[in-house]
Amino acid sequence: MNKFQYFLEYYNGEPLIIQLVWMVSCLLFLAVIILIIYLKFLRVHLRENEKITEKYTKDYELLLITYLYAETDENGVSLERQSVINELEKGIKNTFKRKIIVATFLKLGNEITGEMAESIHDLYSQTKLKKYALSKLKNRNWYIIARGIRELTLFHVKDAHDQVVKHVNHSRREVRKEVQLYLVNLFHFDGLKFLDDLQTPLSEWDQIQLLEELQKLEDQQIPDISLWLRSANKYVVIFALKLAKIYNQFGMKDVLIELISQKDEKVRLELIPVLSHLHVIEAKEVFKNNFNESSKDEQIAFFKLLENLIEPSDEPFIIEHIYHENFEVKYSALKLLKVLNAAKFENLELTPPESDFVKIVEFIKNN
């Protein structure tokens, strides 16, 4: 008591700044104590949670394996399998347990193929898990909708098509991406029908992901892409151009020529390499007639196309552009002239000797 009184007298006798330092120190000390207690509580809680998760995971793993190895019944679900389903149904009602069940199914489903993987998908559909995933599609939060669609994709729930496809033009890119992956993963090339109705952008990354999924398919029979090449959505047109190139759509020649007059420059720029790849020689004259009105990038791209589709009749056009103001066009034109008419290339007037033109010619001669 005396000590405390002594401290109080000492505290009251000190200047205001020292009193303040004491107060802050005490507050900080108190905060540290509270944080230590909180962290201790949090650690205990997390460890308990981990233990519970581990226990449930083991239980559900065993149930899943029992289901997979249970006898099958030709007339329906066998008694053993039904008892597993009933057991799982009890857990599914609880959100925490439901998450563990789904994680357990996925943990195995992602590692195996064949009949057993199909049995996991069947089990998913037979329990109420499918119902919960479908209910996520009606949620107000975009990330829950995306998660729901992803789950339906992973468990190959084909009959959710109509509910999933409703989100094809969702305002969030993440949801749209999940819808697209669902359709392509489960319905393969037929799933691309979503492109008919797509009004939103299809990013470069989304396109790459779709192409990657499509390339994994055994059946590489691509449907008619002319509708997508004529789409009002420029992203759909660009994606269809990629399909035309990858799947060598030589039959699309007329539609591709129509696209030369597309208003969007990005589409035209994507189109030129496709025309080159598919050897659409007829496109050259159209480009030549519009050459001066084209942008620099298009002019460069067109000369790249010429490098692939060069013919003797192109010589006058090439000579016309060997003095082009753009370096890449000029370089490409000179290279093509060397290929078409080496004598004319050798006899080009090389004055003044220090000009860029002469340097390019000398470089091409030596390479």
Partner: protein, 121 residues
Amino acid sequence: MNKKKIVLAEDNSTLSLLLKFRLEKEGYELLMAVDGKQAIELIEEHNPDLILTDIMMPYISGLEVISHVRNELDIKVPIIVFSAAGQEEMVLKAFNLGANDFMGKPFSPNELVIRVKRLLN
């Protein structure tokens, strides 16, 4: 008759359990390891007839397990490795170290049983 022993090193507990049930049904004795360290301990202790190992595992990888078996223990026990997509280089390394076969994930458990039988008979 003595059952043939198989060491299964796999960190995916559900897959381990599935393979354990499947291979035990075929008459093999399964010794389970959740990482490479446990796998090496089991191999040294039980001298198995076959080793099934995942490539990516905690503490000691499948490649180190193969290297230990072939170089340190110097035993010719058949080894099958499991690899995920994109681990092609790892698979080549596993073969260079002395693995006998590999299975790319996802795989069919039935196919694994056929390969196990082929190597053990």
